[in-house]
């Protein structure tokens, strides 16, 4: 086993030498990215310097006005704080519970497929329906969970209590990602040679010690992948969940940055401000990702 940390991007010691092949291999991916992503995203960046009506009939260049206004607004600063709480909690919950389930699954033999199917199943729930199911479960009048909590003496009301609302969106957002993380953890665990763990067991290492000395390091490439992907997920893909459960409320208690982007741009049609918010959000996540690649990836064993 060897771990090498580079501050440059990871690469192989032995490589193929070919002048044109790598570009050919990259071409399809880059073409799609350029046409359907970078070009529209570039327009979004340009849009962030404009003030424009929804139909694009009157356009004024306003420089950085859309940005400065954001940082003067207490609502935006609140959204930054809410995003931090939401993302850290969701990522932690979604990663830890998925890892736990994958480790448990790794010990089973005959029932593996059944458990895997049941655990990945929820990922296939249609998004238009998923929000409603959460509404059914947590509704203060008809939901089961508020009913159970009432029995325990807790009065659940996510429409007015910010803490309840935050708990609800964290649970709902993690739920979707647990299946995803679980599946890749399982795939990662399956690629760890059984011989290594057997050898450690023969040396007398208990299950906990084996996990930390063998399994976790060998799983680290997968874990790193899932960490980055989950953080990006919590920052970008969670607005449908929030839209369907709390609508960002109460009183903006669950309005995260991307929800504001969606709400101001897609629902409110304030394209300039929404574009400025996307640019800031992209900036934040790119910085976060670079940090993860530079500092967290050093601990990854390839």
């Amino acid at each position: 086993m060897r771990a090498f940390a580079t501050n440059k991007m990871q690469t192989k010691r032995t490589i193929f030498r070919n002048r044109w092949l790598p570009y050919l291999l990259l071409a399809p991916q880059l073409a799609v990215t350029l046409v359907f992503f970078l070009w529209p995203a570039g327009q979004a960046v340009w849009q962030s310097f404009l003030r424009e009506d929804a139909f694009g009939l009157k356009t004024t260049f306003v420089g950085l006005a859309n940005y400065t206004r954001l940082f003067d607004s207490p609502e935006y600063l609140n959204a930054l704080r809410v995003t931090l709480v939401f993302s850290v909690s969701t990522a932690a919950l979604a990663l830890l519970s998925a890892l736990l389930l994958a480790l448990a699954l790794d010990r089973t033999i005959r029932t593996t497929r059944l458990y895997t199917t049941l655990l990945v199943w929820p990922y296939a729930v249609a998004p238009a329906v998923a929000g409603v199911l959460w509404w059914f479960m947590f509704n203060p009048t008809i939901g089961i969970l508020p009913y159970l909590l009432e029995g325990l003496g807790y009065d659940w009301n996510h429409a007015l209590n910010k803490g309840d609302a935050m708990a609800l969106v964290i649970i709902a957002a993690s739920w979707k990602q647990i299946s995803y993380n679980f599946l890749f953890f399982v795939a990662g665990l399956q690629s760890i040679p059984a011989s290594l763990r057997e050898a450690a067991a023969i040396d007398g290492a208990g299950p906990v010690k084996r996990f930390f000395t063998i399994t976790l390091p060998l799983l680290s490439p997968t874990t790193f992948f899932l960490l980055v992907v989950t953080v990006v997920y919590t920052m970008f893909d969670t607005f449908p969940v929030i839209d369907a459960t709390t609508g960002g409320g109460p009183a903006q208690g669950t309005t995260i940055l991307v929800y504001k982007v969606y709400d101001d741009g897609f629902i409110g049609l304030n394209l300039g401000s929404s574009a400025a918010q996307s640019v800031i959000l992209m900036g934040i996540v790119i910085v976060l990702t670079v940090i993860q690649f530079r500092y967290v990836e050093r601990r990854v064993t390839y």
């Binding site: 009506d53 429409a159 609508g247 009183a251 897609f266 049609l269």
Partner: protein, 439 residues
């Protein structure tokens, strides 16, 4: 299955064959569920009734999604002829002068017989300019009314046939219902913004904003922090504390309906178009209907309530034959028979006098108690500048602000005056923003 498939394929081929001489009219809409099916039926009847035009209805998601789709398409030059837009998008559509083709102008340009006098002023008034010209074609309009649980009323010793008239009644009835244990809560409501602020103001003849509630221009400002609104919100907060009122959540207030259906709350305020749904879900009790409550010490109350819902906007940039077809289709759509059918099926308000009269002749309102409360309520008095409707830019965001400030009020963060003052201030910022982008 195979049989139905092949018949629909045949039908498709038949329509394709016939389509060659026809002009296609694209209509993007947001009607899901049974309303969507009914809409398809109306369009099919129109297509069968003549051979010059073929209207193609396309479902484009929720109201917000449909509007965004139309805007994205317009910017790419792929816009439909007709798009259905919810009432809070009216400000955006109206300001986009180069993008929309006002209905009155379209009808005049196409030489279509069009009588603006035949429409119900309380319905079309919301969508006219200050000169009384109709800008878009109302399609599904409704107004909030009061629903109550007759069984609970009887159990509490109240007269099951008498709906509360004033907010004083609502409070007194609720007390009695809760004291007798007939139900744990007095009332709940959908749409805090639409029902308990916008309609509340119109119903009490209080201005929602300056310049005739924004009809007079983009330079308008909100004025909903007047004494009547402050008093009402104060009461709502008080009633929520003592359990008389239960909050149903932001936006449409999705949590409020189950409270009424599960007999938790005895009274419920929401759209008149919910009537069919209320009846279907009120399994174990009988439903009574009433107009919205008012404060009898506010001068001018009750005035008339205002509508919500969506209208059909015609977009610019299409060939003349398309517009001829649109004009022809709109004439069909506003005919008394089609209107009466749609109104009676859906619970939405009829848009013409003729459709209302036809319903009366057919005996529809006698056979369906409660179905005319909404019409009576919007036509109670001739609309004033305060009760014609409202028109503000960025109103989707302002509705969200209303919800946020109401939530702050209920959680005790601010008092009613503070919440409404802050609402007005934040809302005005939104309006200025819109003015900047569109002015």
């Amino acid at each position: 299955m195979i049989k139905t498939l092949s018949t629909s394929v045949l039908a498709l081929c038949a329509t394709l064959g016939a389509a060659q001489a026809q002009t296609d009219i694209n209509w993007w809409h947001a009607m899901g569920g049974e309303l969507g099916a009914k809409l398809d039926e109306i369009v099919a009847a129109y297509n069968a009734s003549q051979s010059d035009y073929r209207v193609i209805p396309t479902y484009k998601g929720s109201y917000a999604e449909t509007m965004t789709a139309a805007i994205a398409a317009f910017r790419a030059g792929e816009q439909p002829d007709i798009v259905q837009v919810f009432e809070v998008g009216t400000g955006t559509m109206m300001a986009a002068k180069g993008a929309v083709y006002p209905v009155y102008q379209l009808m005049a340009d196409m030489g279509e017989d069009f009588d603006p006098e035949g429409f119900l002023p309380a319905v079309v008034g919301y969508y006219t300019d200050t000169d009384g010209n109709m800008l878009s074609m109302p399609f599904n309009s409704s107004t909030p009314i009061l629903y109550y649980n007759k069984d609970v009323f009887a159990k509490a010793g109240l007269d099951a046939e008498t709906a509360p008239k004033t907010w004083g009644d609502v409070e007194a009835f609720s007390r009695k219902i809760m004291e007798t244990g007939a139900a744990p809560c007095g009332f709940t409501t959908g749409w805090i913004s639409w029902v308990q602020l916008e309609n509340f103001s119109a119903w009490h003849n209080q201005p929602i904003g300056t310049l005739e509630n924004g009809f007079g221009g983009l330079d308008t400002e909100l004025t909903v922090n007047g004494p009547a609104q402050v008093k009402h919100w104060e009461n709502l907060a008080k009633w929520q504390k003592d359990g008389t009122f239960q909050y149903g959540g932001p936006g449409g207030g999705a949590d409020s309906a189950p409270k009424f259906y599960a007999q938790e709350c005895a009274m419920y305020m929401n759209s008149s178009a919910s009537r069919a749904g209320v009846i279907a879900n009120a399994k174990d009790f009988e439903v009574g209907y009433g107009m919205l409550p008012y404060y009898d010490d506010v001068e001018g109350a009750p005035q008339n309530s205002i509508i919500g819902g969506a209208t059909l906007w015609v977009l610019q940039g299409k060939p003349e034959e398309d517009y001829k077809g649109v004009a022809d289709f709109f004439t069909y759509l506003s005919s008394a028979e089609v209107q009466a059918d749609w109104h009676q099926f859906s619970g939405y308000l009829p848009i013409t006098e003729a459709a209302y009269e036809l319903g009366k002749e057919q005996g529809y309102y006698e056979a369906n108690p409660g179905s005319d409360v909404a019409i009576k309520q919007i036509t109670l008095n001739a609309p004033t500048a305060n009760s014609k409707g409202l028109r503000f830019g960025n109103y989707v965001q302002i509705r969200a602000i209303i919800d946020e400030e109401f939530q702050r009020l209920l959680s005790g963060e601010v008092d009613a005056q503070g919440a409404l003052d802050s609402l007005v201030k934040r809302g005005n910022d939104m309006i200025r923003d819109f003015q900047g982008a569109n002015g």
